[in-house]
Assembly symmetry: C2
Homo-oligomer: 328 residues x 2
């Protein structure tokens, strides 16, 4: 048996040269045209069942900021790079995939968060294409359920040109998010340079304010879908439990950003967490629950299709990605 | 903050009743028709780059035999169930996804193994659909590279009705596989009930025997693609290294079957390994190399898209799935 020394193998192979690959069919077969490179990824949707419910993870692409101190609060770029390298991840960028969940309960089609509407970065502008690839018409959506008011979650409520993207949907938002971001006093008290989310919330919601349903935590906001208070990332950041039959899952949304950093190191604070300490408490509480219940968990910024199981490991946790299933 | 007791939440929520989900838009919006359940998974293809090469993992579906003693040689169904449960996998079936690799080198389109041609089980018959979804025309394939002569690897050389599926491709096979399965003496010495692979190899190869290229281990069989002897599963079972620029990967093909069982427990023998002890040696040697080189590894029966990184863990290994990347 040949020793598995790659360098040796390749050295041997290159000596053999291209002639080795010319087979007996070459003379008689048509001239071989190179197949073009595709350069394009497969459509970013993936389906699974929770009880009778059909869940579709729908990807909006990925944001990949350079790994830089400004992203982090209480750990260094070197700390991040070590953890990422240990998990075979690139160490030059923080990879932030963006994946929303569509829940078909049979009676309602519920979209949890909406992506960026292409208003963020060029690599994150594929939500509507992937929605269509998954076979959904935006007019079919009955409920748009919002976790919090960051632009990568609410911008998709409108198309890029400002129309309502889901014209037949009831828009439901956490009352605590509305109370914070739509409060003119809180906006005035915020330095003008930091008012982006206040302004963007008004852009998205002002003209439909009377038709937006505000919900509290701990409520069944759609059939089998329950809101779970998860503050820290923002004041009203909300996770959701989804239950059907004897199966349940939870989306913890932005309770972690990049899984390789913040699932593994739950004490680490990303700069987007408004109240870093509270975000850590929420993150650990949700991940503890996920580990205890052995339930399927989704994270908005986890690798697509953003579904896995949480185990405790050392001083943090591990995301064990769910296996892709070709059949539902 | 609401306590994360799911039972409490759901009890509270059910008391609130369905009325809670009727929002202010309900009266004025059109009657809500339920969106139909899709019931269908996304197309099973996934792309990534190795240097200048574009790799496309193409899924043929999945085989899910009941977990039964006949599948295993030196461990029990209870052992298997414990390992599977620890990894959040179903414990009633052995899940065996089937995923081939297409390698576009720029000058050659090389397909490594070909799937079942729909001749195996109903849940594994989607290779050609996924090939088309990935944008490939079977006529574009320049080389079909075979790892070994089991039906789920060679049947796709022909369509279900027996035509050559890749009419312009050179078919390349391990010389040691050909020497074993096409040898009439070895076939005669095998009990008739156990001649399935001998007969099937003749069905696939006999009419094209003069046009099949046989290669040895340790050769560059296509540009940047090197054969690696990996016997045990079958006498000539072959892994492949794929190198372009400064990047390399390896497909270990059937050196493990189900990753949750045989990556974690490399000493365990699946009944499909003809020489179980040799298969264990090969498995450990390939996984050791993968762990040492920190290279991307594919397995034909790993969860789609069948790509990850190997780490040593306890007395076995762990498959760390590569993160799905929406952009290439």
């Amino acid at each position: 048996m040949t020793a598995l020394n790659r360098r040796t193998l390749l050295a041997t192979a290159s000596a053999a040269g291209a002639a080795a690959v010319i087979g007996p069919l070459a003379a008689s077969s048509p001239a071989r045209a190179s197949a073009p490179m595709s350069g394009k990824q497969a459509p970013g949707f993936y389906r699974y069942k929770i009880g009778d419910y059909e869940i579709t993870a729908i990807n909006d692409g990925v944001w990949m900021p350079d790994l830089a101190p400004g992203l982090f609060r209480n750990f260094s770029v070197a700390d991040a790079q070590k953890t990422l390298a240990d998990q075979f991840q690139r160490t030059d960028k923080m990879v932030v995939p963006i994946t929303a969940l569509m829940v078909n309960t049979g009676s309602r089609l519920v979209l949890i968060d909406t992506g960026t509407a292409g208003l963020f970065v060029p690599t994150s502008a594929s939500f509507m294409d992937n929605l269509a690839a998954a076979g959904f018409d935006p007019k079919q959506v009955d409920v748009v359920l919002i976790s919090h008011f960051h632009g990568d979650h609410i911008n998709g409520i409108r198309t890029k040109d400002g129309q309502l993207a889901f014209p037949n949907a009831e828009v439901m938002v956490p009352a605590a998010e509305w109370a914070h971001w739509m409060d003119d006093g809180k906006m005035s008290a915020t330095p003008e340079a930091a008012r982006g989310n206040f302004n963007n919330s008004r852009r998205v919601f002002s003209s439909i304010a009377n038709n937006v349903t505000r919900f509290e935590a701990g409520k069944e906001v759609a059939p089998g879908i329950t809101s779970i208070a998860a503050p820290g990332h923002t004041p009203g950041h909300t996770a959701f439990a989804i239950s059907s039959g004897n199966q349940s899952m939870m989306t913890i949304v932005d309770a972690t950003n990049n899984a390789y950093l913040f699932v593994r190191n739950p004490e680490w604070q990303v700069s987007f967490d408004m109240d870093g300490a509270m975000a850590v408490d929420t993150r650990k509480r949700l991940l503890d629950r996920a580990a205890a219940d052995k339930m399927l968990v989704a994270g908005y910024h986890w690798p697509f299709p953003s579904a896995g199981y949480i185990t405790k490991e050392g001083s943090g946790y591990r995301l064990n990605p769910a296996a892709w299933n070709p059949v539902l």
